[in-house]
Amino acid sequence: MQTTRRTFLQASLATAAAAHLPSSLHAQQGQPARRPIPSSREEMPIVGLGTWITFNVGNDPVLRDECAAVMAAFFEGGGRMIDSSPMYGSSQPVVGYGLQKLGRPPAIFSAEKVWTSSATAGPAQIEQSRRFWGVPKFDLVQVHNLLAWKAHLQTLLQMKAAGTVRYVGITTSEGRRHDLVEQIMRNEPIDFVQFSYNVVDREAEARLLPLAAERGIAVIVNRPFRQGELTNRLGKKPLPEWAAELGVSSWAQLMLKFILSHPAVTVAVPATTRVDHVRENLSAAAGPMPDLATRQRISAHVQAL
């Protein structure tokens, strides 16, 4: 029988379920589980921190300190990856403020983006972003929403060769331009790909996630809660009784476990303004993960509500 990507993934999920943890998922007591970045085998906690909207607080000192508190809880809980973009208003300087306030935690894995239609403006924008963060260099720079992707990817690959960035990638969101994403994943030497994937938006399962596993590309999942829409919608409804078997106490944790239990997912980047939520998100990366049947059950249950 010919092994298709779909059957390969289903087999991976079944094997992982038998071991109670998805394949390549490494966990320590009380810490979020980790997965290796395929291109380097560097291990990454599977829950990161997004900054879209939540960290765009301008120069407001009270709100900046709240963001720094979220970052502090994130690092204390074992998190590493913080993801931002020049598109996100003041998020970059706010991340930089938090890093400075926290004494530049060595665990930080800085994930940034280049977002400009001008091919020549890319390097200057990346340098401006680096200054906002206050880091010596970025761990990862991604071409945001595939904007001018050919030119920017060439720039990023040159930077990687020169050692001024460690990993390169591309991003999209909300299911846009998956054909082009797939084409780039097949033909370009990228380390990371970022797209939307959650309990109701499962288009990525058909092509992108299997292709990432096949090509050894790390996957960052954005919009795990559809920008709060899912958590707001489900918040007042009771969790199903069977969710207790997964050790979850909230819808956010259940939905995160659905995402994180896919073996091709490397890290999800939920965004939040609350310390209790960042702890809750990180705790979803520990403990038992749903097997294939439970994943289907979670998705069906949420879609039925």
Partner: protein
């Protein structure tokens, strides 16, 4: 931007309602008690239009020009642009509106001699911008600290300008309309996307002003002699 039809207004909202309203709180705190002066200026504009519009017309327009450049610089450029990069470009549009008002002031080509329903609509819009808009924050439970005040915040400044322009007559008036109208529509979209009920305010101001202008145009055409 490819697949542009897949984007919604929500995709362009870069900040949360809490951050948006706190921006007004910090802006008000930084400029207080300038609010007293700008509100007094608004009342002065109403008085001058009703009292001796012929003499003071150019000064009314000059006051508006100063307020547009001030709001564009202090709020849009210095504050709003920190959470919305597009605000820097909108600040330039506010500067253009200020420039147009300044040209109008120098040319002295304006007459505040409208009467009837159109004039009353103008007064209504102007009165709402100066006296009504600041009440929306406490009425919606946000407290006075985040109130939007004429000459300090963009919405009441743009809405008041629509009111003044409804009361005015002159060849350059149509050139002054697009920027306040576009700002009101943009602000309405932003507020509606955030789920804020007060989105109706800028929308209603534009709708009332548009109805009044259409009424004026119909009446003018109706009064023309048949060819």
């Amino acid at each position: 931007m490819s697949e542009w039809w897949t984007y919604r207004a929500e995709d362009f909202l870069l900040f949360s309602p809490r951050v948006y309203w706190r921006m007004f709180e910090t802006h008000n705190a930084a400029l207080w008690p300038l609010h007293v002066v700008t509100l007094a200026t608004g009342l002065l504009i109403i008085l001058l239009i009703t009292w001796r519009p012929g003499i003071w017309a150019r000064w009314i327009v000059l006051i508006l020009a100063v307020l547009w450049i001030f709001v564009g610089w202090s709020f849009l450029w210095n504050r709003y642009s920190s959470i919305n990069w597009a605000a820097a470009y909108i600040a330039l549009a506010f500067a253009v509106e200020a420039g147009l008002l300044l040209i109008l002031s120098l040319r002295d080509g304006l007459a505040f001699d409208r009467r009837g329903p159109v004039a009353w609509t103008g007064y209504l819009i102007l009165a709402f911008a100066i006296a009504g808009q600041p009440l929306l924050a406490p009425l919606q439970g946000r407290g006075w600290a985040s109130s939007e005040v004429f000459g300090i915040a963009p919405d009441p400044t743009a809405i008041a300008t629509l009111g003044v322009l409804l009361l005015a007559r002159g060849g350059l008036v149509p050139w002054l309309l697009p920027i306040p109208v576009l700002w009101c529509l943009l602000s309405g979209i932003t507020l509606r996307t955030m789920g804020e009920p007060q989105a109706w305010a800028p929308y209603a101001a534009v709708a009332l002003a548009a109805a009044a202008w259409i009424w004026t145009i119909i009446r003018q055409r109706g009064s023309l002699p048949a060819a």
